[in-house]
């Protein structure tokens, strides 16, 4: 069955406009960063954060007024993707909501546990927003969907696992459309965790969303939702295996890279070259930072933008997460 990407939206450190952010990425705009300070005596961390004003309208919604950034970003990107969905919404009978998350509601988690450690009254308003599926729950509620809602967690590869799950649901005829949303929020403690882990990617936050349908103009040629690796040195081989699961017919003419300044860069370069040779490559994380659970969906939105603006041939989206799986998708003009 053919599957198409009919709507895209994002909330990024560079803005929320599809063309505006894509042009900035192509122009090599540096990621705008700010310092996230921790407790006194601890090291601050730089992060590329999405401006809160981008989700001002979403934050006015009663359901979301106490939500953490991750849910606001997710709802903002989801709303944008549905708004510019080229598919006719009147034909939408059922829609699944699938979110991909890496670290989740870390800001509220930190605040809630801080209250626990300090033996203060722990807030019952914070705790529910710490669960991984809070963004999916809010989106489903805002859209009035009573059907299928899934939240997938993992590293960056969870984004393509979510896309693969969406394809499976469409193929099974269980839904007419799937709204796939990747979201993440940055926090000081997350920066500290990645520093301890010696993974020097630029932490970022935001969200990206796509709508999958059975008809449209941008075709999802194939997706490999994940090939595991147990050690970083195995990541390249896992990506090669994921690329091997994509349709063989069409050679990509462009790559939307997942390079983030870690071991991922060399693993990706080696795997893509081994399978396809050298290809023109765009590096979105230079401009957006690495928004972990949202990053694969941001790559997909970049790929769709690339095709919409210059419909020359298929675009490859390779994804290597930091500690779970490698994955890949191939997208073309339908």
């Amino acid at each position: 069955m053919d599957v198409f990407i009919t709507g895209t939206g994002w909330i990024t450190p560079l803005g929320a406009g599809l063309d505006e952010v894509w042009e900035a990425i192509l122009g090599g705009a540096p990621a705008p960063t700010r310092e996230l300070a921790g407790p006194v005596g601890t090291k601050a961390h730089r992060a590329a954060t999405a401006p809160p004003k981008l989700v001002d309208d979403v934050a006015q919604n009663g359901r979301l007024r106490r939500s953490s950034n991750i849910s606001l970003f997710a709802a903002g990107a989801a709303g944008a993707a549905l708004k510019n969905d080229e598919d006719n919404p009147s034909r939408m009978r059922t829609c699944a909501v699938i979110t991909s998350i890496c670290d989740g509601g870390v800001i509220y988690s930190r605040r809630f546990y801080d209250q626990v450690v300090k033996k203060e009254t722990a807030s019952p308003l914070l705790f529910p927003e710490t669960v991984y599926n809070a963004p999916a729950s809010h989106i489903a509620a805002l859209l009035g969907m009573d059907g299928i809602t899934y939240t997938l967690v993992g590293d960056a590869s969870a984004g393509l696992a979510a896309v693969e799950l969406g394809v499976e649901l469409l193929e099974a005829g269980e839904v007419d459309r799937c709204l796939i949303v990747g979201a993440e929020e940055a926090d000081w403690i997350l920066g500290e965790a990645y520093r301890q882990w010696r993974l020097p990617a630029l932490m970022a936050d935001g969200a990206a969303a796509i709508v999958l349908s059975r008809e449209g103009k941008i075709r999802l040629e194939g997706v490999s939702g994940g090939v595991p690796f147990f050690r970083q040195r195995e990541a390249g081989a896992s990506l090669r295996a994921a690329l091997g699961e994509l349709p063989r017919g069409a050679k990509p003419c462009r790559v939307i890279s997942c390079a983030n300044g870690t071991f991922v860069d060399e693993a990706e370069r080696g795997a893509v070259e081994a399978v396809y040779g050298r290809l023109p490559t765009v590096y979105p994380k230079k401009s957006l930072g690495d928004a972990y659970g949202a990053s694969a969906l941001m790559q997909i939105v970049c790929a769709v933008q690339s095709i919409r603006r210059e419909p020359t041939g298929p675009v490859l989206v390779p994804v290597i997460g930091l500690n779970h799986q490698a994955a890949a998708a191939l997208i073309s003009a339908g």
Partner: protein, 403 residues
């Protein structure tokens, strides 16, 4: 064009570790005995909390699982996943999964807590890197794969307390539609201070015994554990001579958009999930011989689930919540209760709803009160509902008569 017939989905092996026991046999004994496996919390300070108890897996069991050099660094959640995977592997060494689909909500949460406390204290601690490396929810799944010698894609579903049922349900759908032939699925979760305090802050946990569906219920206690099903295309499983323990025949999912922590009072979310599971299994309410309820013993859950069960099934079908014996294992609960449902079918019993005194007068249910009953259920419905309004129901059937 011919439409392919949906495949039957066999359960060829199961693995479980929970406060009820280490393995299917020990779990069966606890269910028969109606064992109360809820004990005082010792892992962290609960003196200022409303609730002081939980269903906890004894540390000694965990330590026995640290039998490799690498496993010394693992989180308890990894050890639970390893234990369940080893049991599954022991039952059917020929099972070759193409994918793992696992439900979880917290991963190695206590390592995250230790990391936070270490930073808050300001003192250097060399364990920080270990904590972070073993914190993510995918790590226990990768550890279990490596321990068992598997290297296959894995999906981690975090649909709050319905996660384990969602994982089994989605695996069932993939095999039924022919996309996969064999999947290892289930769920896990380990108790953590943050989640314990979270439920305490919501006043959802109880200082008393957990009494699902009781008129005098006062809330839940938390639990922990891991459970797995090895699911396989029935025809393929038979061809390779695998023992068929049972079948998954139905899955229903719904989302209740009412509130992030409270179900809609009408019970529409649970009802939709159960109706969809029955439709998926091609059976009616009268065909269900036993319901393993979500039954958290919170005011809200039991009120809505009880109402939905009473409306759909009346008061004929036996119902129990086995959380009464071991607490609520969150992301692991649905999988643990699916394995318990299989045990009920295979061992000819209805597991009890212990600590039960008097049914809530809001509805009339046939509660399996306090003592395990001998019966021979052939078709069981297992419910799981969670934060965010996620609802999932599974239909599990006996192996005999599989087409």
């Amino acid at each position: 064009m011919s439409i392919p017939q949906p495949a039957s989905v066999a359960i060829v092996a199961a693995g479980i570790i929970s406060p009820l026991g280490r393995g299917v046999d020990a779990t069966t004994r606890s269910l028969r005995d109606g064992a109360d496996c809820v004990t005082p919390v010792t892992a962290f300070d609960v003196s200022s909390a409303r609730c002081h108890t939980a269903g906890q897996i004894p540390d000694a069991w965990m330590e026995e699982l640290r039998d490799t050099r690498k496993s010394r660094r693992f989180h308890r959640a990894s050890l639970m996943m390893i234990a369940a995977t080893r049991e599954m592997r022991g039952q059917d060494p020929g099972f070759a999964p193409e994918q793992f689909i696992i439900g979880a909500t917290g991963g190695g949460m206590t390592f995250g807590e230790a990391f936070f406390r270490s930073l808050a204290s300001g003192a250097a601690d060399r364990r920080r890197a270990k904590w972070i490396a073993n914190y993510n929810p995918q790590k226990p799944v990768l550890d279990a794969q490596e321990d068992a010698g598997f290297r296959v894609p894995s999906s981690i579903i975090a649909n709050a307390c319905a996660s384990g049922s969602n994982a089994i349900g989605h695996a069932f759908e993939l095999i039924r539609r022919g996309r996969r032939q064999a999947i290892l699925c289930g769920g896990y979760d380990a108790i953590s201070e943050m989640v314990f305090r979270g439920f305490d802050s919501l006043q959802a946990s109880t200082p008393e015994k957990i009494r699902p569906f009781d008129a005098a219920r006062t809330g839940l206690v938390l639990g922990e554990g891991a459970a797995l099903f090895a699911l396989e295309n029935l025809e393929r499983a038979r061809e390779r001579g695998a023992k068929i323990l049972g079948r998954v025949t139905g899955y229903g999912i719904s989302t209740d958009t009412h509130h992030i922590t409270q179900p809609h009072p009408s019970g529409i979310g649970p009802r939709l999930a159960m109706e969809r599971a029955l439709a998926s299994a091609g059976c009616g309410a009268g065909d269900i011989d036993y319901i393993n309820a979500h039954g958290t013993a919170t005011s809200f859950n039991d009120a809505t689930e009880g109402l939905a069960i009473a409306e759909l099934f009346g008061n004929r079908t036996p119902v129990s919540s086995t959380k009464s014996m071991m607490g609520h294992a969150l992301g692991g609960a649905g999988a643990i209760e699916a394995v318990i449902s299989l045990i009920a079918i295979r061992e000819g019993m209805l597991p009890p709803n212990i600590n039960f005194t008097k049914c809530d007068p809001a509805w009339e249910l046939n509660i399996v009160a306090n003592l395990c009953q001998t019966a021979f259920p052939r078709r069981v419905l297992s419910n799981s509902f969670g934060f965010g309004g996620t609802n999932a129901s599974l239909v599990i059937e006996a192996a005999e008569g599989a087409n």
